[in-house]
Symmetry: C2
């Protein structure tokens, strides 16, 4: 273990960049404060071994860069038996410490943080939280457990552990779905944790699915082949956000195959820039599609590319390979399917690097030996229609779309279908999405839920548990929206400022049912407009010739009109879209259908608290990081 | 310490009544089960001393009989520094054990229980909970801490302790206001706690204010006199419920005095029958009132007694003496006040005892040396009007009454008033009542709250903290109702099946403001009736000549009509009653007033969990009660 240095800035952790050595001038008050900090506050002295065994790569199978430069690299694993996440954070350039943590939507205020800090002499590790003003506080219960710290040529490895649920109200509850990770860099020595205000720090956020499902990898066939759909050495535009479109095509006469797995191919060095990638198959209605290689929003992009929307594969940062279940594969190739594929890559380049070249994409693993079942994709949630709207100024307004018992009765095979993966989708106001399976009016199972959903992080997620859906079951998809920054109503639709509430579920065996969604009955919405008009003494024109969005835009929003709209959506009959394709309905009466009535809700699971030894006393852990210095 | 007996039923706890000695015939399976119970389950052996110091009466200042025979007597004290209640339970006749605990509204299911049980040989004590079916389970965290057990001539004393909040989700949270205590008698040996189903037991409930405020008793003057207003040796009717009315009168020419304290006078032996008592002063408008001594609901009761409604004193079971603050007293006597008093006693006689005689009542302590301030009583909440209604079938519908800033601005002195006591009042559907003080749109302080309110337990409660109310403050009273057992709407009004939402606050110095309440604007309610009519395609007559209750009764209740009524009450302007007496308003415009807008709510206090040593492992505590046997 190293001894503190004795130079100009003793014990200071230095960055590998050359920086002027500025000594903090210590006033009496500061010295007193440091003394107090050192003597009074740190009751428990725990020295962490800097040596020790090097964790293997396979110990932390999931990896994501935290910052756009990739100077902070997080790897982790999940222990479901222990209900805990083990983190390994690689800090390539350590200054005076680092904050790492989680918050509801990536904000630095009201966050739950693990903090490594140095006062210039000594380094400490502790569990902290930030208040609504960004001020840090030591947590009364220490739930980020430091497991070790290790110096390596590439930087400092910090190993720590956190239970999913700590039962400390100041702590973040780690749940399924998106977790907003945040990081902050301490660029000056800090004399105590309380001296840190996170709002003023250099830092950022990274979204990941922390609780990856614990799925056993299916056996792969011997005749498996691979195909890479990758960008052709593209120059990443020097702008923050680019959606890049590249058209690829299958060989002529390519017969039907099953995609059984796919994985990302990310150009080395671009790990922090490639945010997400999708491969779409084009519509079979067109014989050919133009070749194109350029930004998706370019004026030069041929319009026909909009007909390439059938998802074959999707990957987002932090995701691993995607495996189809052993009994099923995603059909591609063969007659009746297009040879044309569209690769879309979202480059996230906030530091506006110039001239970076990239050949990232997706590697498909496929087989000619077809598996027993074709996999299918079904769309659940709300129809894209303006009748479903969100008032402005709402912090959490809820809309619900129903796939009714009548539709599943008609469209599903008696043996049912198995949902194994799901991709949630909303536009910019979406904050939460959940789909629940109900049977005989009783909620049975969550299909997929994301309480920290972000429209900027739409992965296809393998489900922890395959969900069996039988004829007569109901699939209820609920989206929560935030419109606090909007001044007029947000209506449903295709536009980026309109909204959607969709869950694309991946299932097998494939059925004819492509779309099972709903929207409020338009006649009842019309009654609502009438009611609002009369109740509020408004002379707003609610005439029938005015479009639904215009009627919504002209409503004088107040709590009554808002509450009554919410009541309407919770009461009025629905129009059900139980469709073979987006335009062809199953035969039957689908208008003015009753809302499914749910008599029994699923219980919120009560959080399991760690046994008391897990929680450590509220004192920071001093670290001997002397050997870290590179001077 | 006694050794287990060796008679016919070894070690059996016997009741003092003579019962045939029936030996439980032990089958092999039962023996095996007992063996398992004794050997495997009871890991911790803790012997409680049966001797030890006798706690003094003053150690447990609060006392209440639990059962109508008075065989179970609970005394307790409250330690605010330790946030815990210490209980002393006197069991006059112990059979095979006893359950004591708490539940939301006195039900035996989903209850939190301390259990003393005997298998015929040994006795055990443990913390348990009952599930929705009444089945008992040992609690994983033992939070009823046994402090001791002691045999005395009058029975067995059990001493135990319970933190207000245990942070165990299976435990009841002890809060201010009413607590529903429950008890059950084990009349047969039980081999394990799991063998008990509480729904099948002989038992009952008792409501008390467990967390009595910790108020220092004001100095009493030397010239203090007493006056007993007591029933004149009444024969308690042999029926479950009797409200007894007895007229008393002050001496002629009795000058103005201040009541500074009062306390109950309960005839010895009737402690379990006298449920609550109130002394009312009659209206000064009448020169004389008839003498009357009989049931309040008798046809023989003179109608004029209905004009005796001004509360002078109120007591309910478990309450102690009531003290006025040192600066104030309740005026009675003197010109302008009636000489006539009405005593009302609620006898609760579920076992239908016959021929019990009773002379209970209230002892008033008063002084001729008037204190600086007269105390006053002000009525907050909702006006008694049918415009405030509750739909049928609701498990918790909320109505709110407002005392607005405009009214307090006009009616309160600039130095403000001090509220020191409060009596909450609803009719039979009331479940919760709370009054909150708001200033500049921000909630500041809870005046009085009862989350387990029962209309059968309406005490005047001293406040833990005196609440200062200044001109411009708002007092917001919220009542929660349950109408699950009703098939038509419940409207506001005087009838027992109509509802009220009232908080009678006791304060000083007395002002002219007697009543500060509100109700929804009737014009807006009319719009609601119209809206409901149109929206639901109903041909219900909502014509203006139909009364408001009739209009409410004819509404076809569904979630929409219910939700919109709730939205209406949360939005529509109000009619404010800012009155000098029930008929005389302060001058001003009081119709169509805006609802107070609250921008900042009080935070729910997060429960303080006991330090870990408080919680004990999940094993019952064996007790040596051998010496208890009276054979």
């Amino acid at each position: 273990m190293g001894t503190p240095g004795a130079g100009c800035c003793p014990g200071r952790m230095q960055s590998s960049r050359s920086r002027p050595c500025s000594c903090p001038s210590l006033k009496l008050r500061e010295v007193a404060s440091m003394y107090f900090t050192l003597v009074a506050a740190f009751l428990v002295i725990l020295v962490v071994a800097l040596q020790g065994s090097v964790p293997r790569q396979s110990d932390f199978p999931y990896k994501v860069p935290l910052d756009p430069q990739g100077l902070l690299e997080l790897s982790w694993n999940v222990s479901y038996p222990e209900q805990a996440v083990n983190f390994q954070l690689l800090i390539k350039e350590l200054h005076f410490g680092l904050l790492f943590g989680m918050s509801d939507r990536g904000e630095f205020e009201n966050a739950d943080l693990a903090v490594l800090w140095s006062d210039g002499h000594n380094s400490y590790f502790g569990d902290a939280w930030s208040d609504a003003k960004g001020q840090l506080h030591m947590d009364s219960q220490q739930d980020y457990q430091l497991l070790g710290a290790r110096r390596a040529p590439e930087g400092l490895y910090l190993l720590f552990r956190r239970a999913f649920s700590t039962c400390d109200p100041k702590d973040y509850l780690i749940e399924d779905g998106t977790v907003h990770l945040i990081y902050g860099i301490l660029e000056k020595p800090v004399h105590s944790l309380q001296a840190i205000n996170v709002s003023a720090l250099h830092g950022g956020l990274q979204r990941v699915q922390l609780l990856k499902p614990n799925i056993s990898i299916p056996q792969l066939p011997r005749d498996m082949q691979t195909m890479e759909i990758t960008a052709p050495d593209v120059v990443i535009p020097s702008q923050e956000t680019t959606y890049w479109c590249y058209m690829a095509e299958l060989p002529e006469g390519f017969p039907k195959h099953h995609i059984i797995m796919y994985e990302p191919v990310v150009t080395a060095g671009n790990e922090a820039l490639v945010h997400h990638m999708e491969v779409f198959q084009c519509a079979a209605d067109f014989d050919s599609f133009p070749h194109y290689n350029g930004p998706c929003d370019s004026k030069m992009k041929p319009e026909r590319l909009n007909y390439c929307r059938h998802v074959l594969a999707a990957w987002a940062m932090g995701a691993q390979a995607f495996y189809y279940p052993e009994e099923a594969g995603l059909a591609f190739g063969g007659p009746g399917s297009s040879r044309y594929l569209r690769l879309e890559i979202h480059y996230h380049n906030p530091l506006v690097f110039k001239g970076r070249r990239d050949s990232s994409g997706i590697r498909l693993y496929y087989t000619a030996t077809l598996r027993p079942y074709d996999a299918g994709i079904m769309e659940l949630g709300l129809v894209y229609t303006p009748v479903m709207a969100i008032p402005p100024g709402e912090d959490s307004f809820i809309l619900t779309g129903y796939c009714t018992d009548k539709c599943t009765q008609l469209a599903l095979p008696s043996a049912g279908i198995r949902i194994f993966a799901s991709q949630l989708h909303t536009h910019l106001a979406g904050r939460k999405v959940v789909t629940v399976l109900a049977r005989h009016g009783r909620e049975r199972q969550v299909v997929n839920a994301d309480s920290h959903y972000s429209p900027h992080f739409q992965e296809i997620r393998m489900l922890k548990e395959v969900v069996a859906v039988f004829p007569g079951d109901e699939l209820i998809t609920t989206c929560t929206y935030n419109t606090e920054d909007r001044s007029r109503a947000t209506v449903g639709g295709f536009g980026i400022l309109e909204e959607m509430c969709v869950n694309y579920v991946h299932y097998y065996p494939q059925t004819q049912l492509e779309l099972c969604k709903s929207a409020v009955d338009p006649g009842y919405l019309h009654r609502y407009f009438n009611l609002v008009n009369r109740f509020n003494d408004e002379e707003v024109c609610m005439c029938p010739q005015v479009s639904v969005p215009q009627q919504f835009y002209s409503i004088p929003w107040n709590t009554f009109n808002r509450d009554v709209l919410r009541s309407l959506y919770g009461f009025a009959p629905i129009s059900v879209h139980c469709n073979k394709s987006s335009a062809v309905r199953f035969p039957g009466q689908w208008e003015k259908q009753p809302l499914p009535s749910i008599t029994e809700r699923l219980q919120e699971p009560s959080p399991r608290c760690p046994p008391s030894p897990g929680a450590q006393p509220a004192a920071p852990v001093p670290l001997h990081l002397g050997r870290l210095r590179r001077d």
